[in-house]
Symmetry: C2
Subunit: 111 residues, 2 copies
């Protein structure tokens, strides 16, 4: 309440032969994963797909993004989820070191 | 209030030699364009760019999307805006006939 929302747009590729598996997993995500996303102050998180390109949009409502991401990465269920999903993805080489998805700039916004 | 929100993810290409012009225009959008977006019940509209790929995310809060889009297309300022922006874009051939941006499926969402 009262804090600024930070919006994120991110890209990654999904391996063409893992698209079906990736979509099935995300159609029925593990509740613990959704809980940790929420605890890490992420809201309104959507992933879209076109061919082998995935686009993620989410909003961060917390005060310490780095700390909230560290907490997410420390969650054992998140680690298991990422072990599965990372194997289905091909990240962009130009992503920020330490990131998995490539964060891309917002060039327009209206509330 | 009380209505369901429809989320949209859309793609289009920007012509490589028009990227700067496109971004300058969207950094300082015409107020009448923002007003018509709002009147057409679009909210939380963001555009992201990576290389020549543009990704749009927006939320529709109205009850008649087709009617609201028809109203948008009938607005003379919107028509002038689109005349400018269409010339800077290369749409995806597989878009829905009558559309300009390609609407792509959402494969994951959590509030």
């Amino acid at each position: 309440v009262g804090g600024a929302v930070r919006r994120f747009g991110q890209l990654i590729n999904v391996k063409p032969d893992r698209i079906d598996e990736y979509e099935r997993l995300h159609a029925d995500p593990w509740p613990e994963v959704l809980d940790q996303i929420r605890r890490s102050n992420i809201r309104n998180y959507s992933i879209y797909r076109h061919a082998d390109l995935l686009f993620a949009y989410f909003e961060y409502i917390g005060q310490d993004f780095a700390a909230d991401m560290t907490a997410m990465a420390a969650d054992p269920v998140i680690q298991e989820w990422w072990a599965r999903t990372d194997a289905m993805q091909d990240p962009f080489p130009e992503r920020t070191p330490g990131d998995w998805w490539l964060t891309i700039p917002e060039i327009f916004h209206t509330d």
